[in-house]
Symmetry: C2
Subunit: 312 residues, 2 copies
């Protein structure tokens, strides 16, 4: 991307997703626009904030870069100041990801074979992401043998994104269908499950990508740890329990069709027009979660007191 408008468009069409990642990208967007036109500061900020007006991290990041740029001399020094501030935001978020990874790995001493779901790496969050940051830290510590990746139908983020990220990280992995996870856990093939989270209720109930809950049930039945990783910003203190979280129902075509691995395209896999139910998320009750891992530390056991304690 070469301009604030291009960054804003990428945020609007969800090519850049996840609150912290949007903030980081928007910071760079301001600097990019200033590099094209050092007088463009107000317009650049306006364009980016409008990309997703409800994203708090975005507004905050754009504000920080705007203030840093405003405080410096016009021209090249202003571009440099904006870029330095964008890099600072990026570094802070990456540091949070690494901290979360360390806290998570501390919970998983001796766990060599990890099962993960959906995509929780650098394509979803700054640094090394959330769940995948824990897995990467385990690999750094020399404790990791294998990552089992459940494909994560309907959109196959496990097969399309997580497999790609693990390959780039040089971490041994095997892909499975979502329905194979429980049997492999029961057969003793998995030492721990690590997933991300979309929203955490005040009591520790977790909403995450559909398919998470059945992995949690299998982990409990198999007596292995089930670890949820996410930034403190996903904890919603105004949401008492998971029952208050509305589950987004998405388009039936996501179930009727399967995305191809290449650029674009998808293929119908059932009778045309088949009615479908397509909940995007499911709820995992706090009682099934061994630990909630954040950049500030860990809630374990996952009780309301421990979860809200992480927010300070």
């Amino acid at each position: 991307m070469r301009s604030a408008a291009e960054v804003a468009a990428a945020i609007t069409r969800l090519s850049i997703r996840g609150a912290p990642l949007i903030g980081v990208a928007a910071g760079y967007g301001v600097a990019l626009e200033l590099a094209r036109d050092p007088d463009a500061l107000p317009r650049a900020c306006e364009t980016l904030v409008a990309a997703r007006p409800t994203a708090v991290n975005l507004v905050h990041a754009v504000d920080r870069v705007r203030q840093a740029a405003s405080a410096s001399a016009p021209g090249r020094p202003r571009v440099a100041a904006a870029l330095a501030q964008a890099r600072a935001i990026h570094a802070e978020e990456a540091a949070s990801s690494f901290a979360l990874g360390r806290h998570g790995a501390d919970q998983l001493a001796g766990c060599r074979r990890i099962l993960t779901h959906c995509n929780t790496g650098a394509l979803a969050a700054p640094g090394r992401g959330t769940g995948l940051a824990v897995i990467a830290e385990l690999a750094d510590r020399g404790e990791l043998e294998l990552v089992l990746v459940s494909e994560s139908r309907p959109l196959l983020q496990g097969a399309r994104l997580t497999v790609y990220e693990l390959g780039r990280l040089g971490i041994a992995h095997e892909l499975i269908v979502d329905g194979a996870a429980a049997g492999l856990i029961a057969a003793g093939e998995v030492d721990a499950v690590v997933v991300g989270c979309d929203r955490v209720a005040a009591n520790g109930d977790v909403a995450n990508k559909v398919g998470t809950y059945s992995h949690a049930l299998a982990a409990a039945a198999g007596g292995i740890p089930f670890i949820v990783a996410g930034p403190c910003s996903t904890i919603d203190r105004d949401c008492a329990t998971g029952a208050e979280i509305a589950i987004e129902q998405r388009d039936a075509d996501e179930v009727r069709r399967v995305p191809s691995g290449g650029a674009g395209g998808s293929y119908e896999v059932t009778v045309a027009g088949t009615p479908c139910r397509n909940p995007a998320f499911d709820l995992t009750p706090a009682a099934l979660i061994t630990a909630l891992v954040t950049e500030r530390g860990v809630a374990k056991p996952v009780t309301g007191g421990a979860v809200l304690g992480l927010l300070g």
Copy 2:
């Protein structure tokens, strides 16, 4: 199909699967060949038995038709006798399926929304099949509101076969991804789960299509019945527990690729060459099964005594 050789080829390439269905088809195969050449009885029987030499039902069915044909006059009466015997075998197997359906439906009074997995209908077994025979009987009794069908990755038998069969039966249905089942059960959207079985151990442990076990865990957590349906021939009295059942590991390409809904073809959905684990089945322990339903009656609770009692 118009000859014994065509029926034998369909059995060999697994286009016709399931022990009882193979027997029925082979019986008709003998009659078909006699209609082409009334003197072809020995060759027809030989061709069909060679299609899958280990299939006991096949040998038995071919034998019955051979004896009936041999006992009648040559020419047209012989063709008629063979066809009548093939029809008798078919009727017996269909009656078993209907009996199984009634026994299953008796267990599900008041259950209006059923979740099923993989394909257990007329494409997998004679009559109305096994699990789908239970569902069809519930529909006949006016007790059925909706069938939720989990797609059954990797080969998508739910999306490709069960959806098709329910459509032909005029039964309302919705397709879901496998990972959505547990969350829908927890949300109170399902009254009972009905699945088939590939093999039942003497203690009631069940091997069935991968993904079955996580549905059983979710049913237990949600407090709804989990019903396994299959003919008594799937009970293996020489197999003490599920731990003795070897789980077939199938080709990685089934996970890397997704079959398209149309005729043939499949599409790659992950990074080329990604290593995969592909267990075709999983084990559901007897303790998670509410009832085992057969054509001869029901084992409930599912104990070794009750299961072996069905074998008489």
